[in-house]
């Protein structure tokens, strides 16, 4: 990959990778750190990575880095748990996409990540499996269970009857 191609990846994939990480851990500062670390890592081996495979490489590296950060900082795991007050406070939210993101925050980290990769980036189950280190069957299972949980949340909060 050339320097020009590297810069192209920064412009093209910087925001998507950041969004994926930020939506996964809900911490802007740490998300920015993770993405920056990922790009530093990419720069260190810029000549060894094929430009055509760089998007998958970026998401994989960022995901792995995020898992490391989550393991080291238990505070980030706590984002999965919400009290009922916050849940019912969002009942009247009419923006479906916004409510879905709130519901997403309630999912376990792995489910959250695979759904984000699927919906944001349109990755196939196989590609998501390569990024997250899961089998294709596991990816499918997480996505289907995640979708069921999202729907259940919408029904529970009366957004959907």
């Amino acid at each position: 990959m050339t320097v020009k191609e590297y810069n192209s990846t920064v412009k093209q994939f910087g925001d998507p990778v950041y969004r994926f990480i930020y939506r996964s851990i809900k911490d802007r500062e740490r998300a920015a750190d993770i993405v920056q670390d990922t790009y530093e890592k990419l720069w260190n081996c810029v000549t060894e990575i094929d430009f055509n495979a760089v998007k998958s490489w970026l998401f994989t590296s960022a995901y792995n880095r995020m898992i490391d950060v989550i393991r080291k900082d238990s505070r980030l795991v706590a984002v999965e748990y919400y009290d009922d007050a916050s849940l019912y406070a969002e009942e009247n939210n009419s923006d479906l996409n916004e409510v879905l993101h709130h519901a997403l925050d309630r999912l376990p980290a792995v489910q959250r990540s695979v759904i984000l990769l699927r919906d944001y980036e349109g990755y196939s189950y196989q590609e998501i499996g390569e990024i997250t280190g899961l089998t294709e069957a596991q990816v499918k299972s997480y996505i289907f269970r995640g979708r069921t949980a999202l729907r259940a949340y919408l029904v529970k909060t009366s957004v959907w009857q």
Partner: protein, 302 residues
Amino acid sequence: MKSDNEYPHLVPPDDTFPGQENMFRSPHDLTAEQFSLLAAAWAEGALSGESLSEIESVIAADREKRVIAESFRRLRLKPGTERWEGRNRLLRSTPAAKNVRRIFIYTIATAAAILAIMTLRPVAEQREAEQTLAVLPGVTVTADMPGSVTHDIQMDSEMPPAESHQVMSEPVILIASAEIEEMKRDMPLEIGIAAESNVIISEINAKNLIALQIRAIPPPSEAADERSWIVNSLAALSKSGTNEDKPVNSYTIAGSLVKSVNSLLGWEMELEKVTTDEGEPVAVNFNSGLLTFSSPVKKSNQ
């Protein structure tokens, strides 16, 4: 060693599971949770073959389940508008880009310096001319009027205070000697370097006087030449570039540099002098892709 076949074998009895018929299930027997998972997969387009036909048979038969299944198709997250703030910090420059950027910065800095010189030089010269150089023990600058210095010489107690102040309009340098000589003068003492700037001091107690040496300061034009070494250097460069021996002003220097940068880098910077109908310059306009401004021309800077 005996073969396995040589040992006696168990023969399975012909037992049948009596409740087998009750264990068969149809797609309509799926629990709500099972149906949800299957519907999620259906909405994803992940089902095929027999699985697909089974759930479609359920959906076709039950309107409520169709609504549930189709609701999964609306469960799609759309990316937000979050932007990665530090993105541009990670962009790397190629060597060629670094060189272009360096030249650009130098050019802008040079242009800014030239314009600063053009704008500030008359002001600096004016301020320099206003400064006084008198140094004397007991001398106090009291007047706001530029160029005037009041010498406060300690007089005898019987002298009226009004007579103890004299004004010297020309700047002088006064240096005290080491020895003070006892002397007393009753006649007026005249100090000065020009008739119109003489200072008359009368009734001075010699005990309070010190020996003075008066030096004339260099003409202001020489001092100005020493201060404007940057302009002189740029003028020399400009003359060498244009091969002209006529006097070079600030506008000529700036114009010549702008022209050089344009021809060197292929840029299109413009430096234009705006004049009145009589040909008297009134302003200088600068225009480039990044910067455009207009600077009025002071008469002293033409």
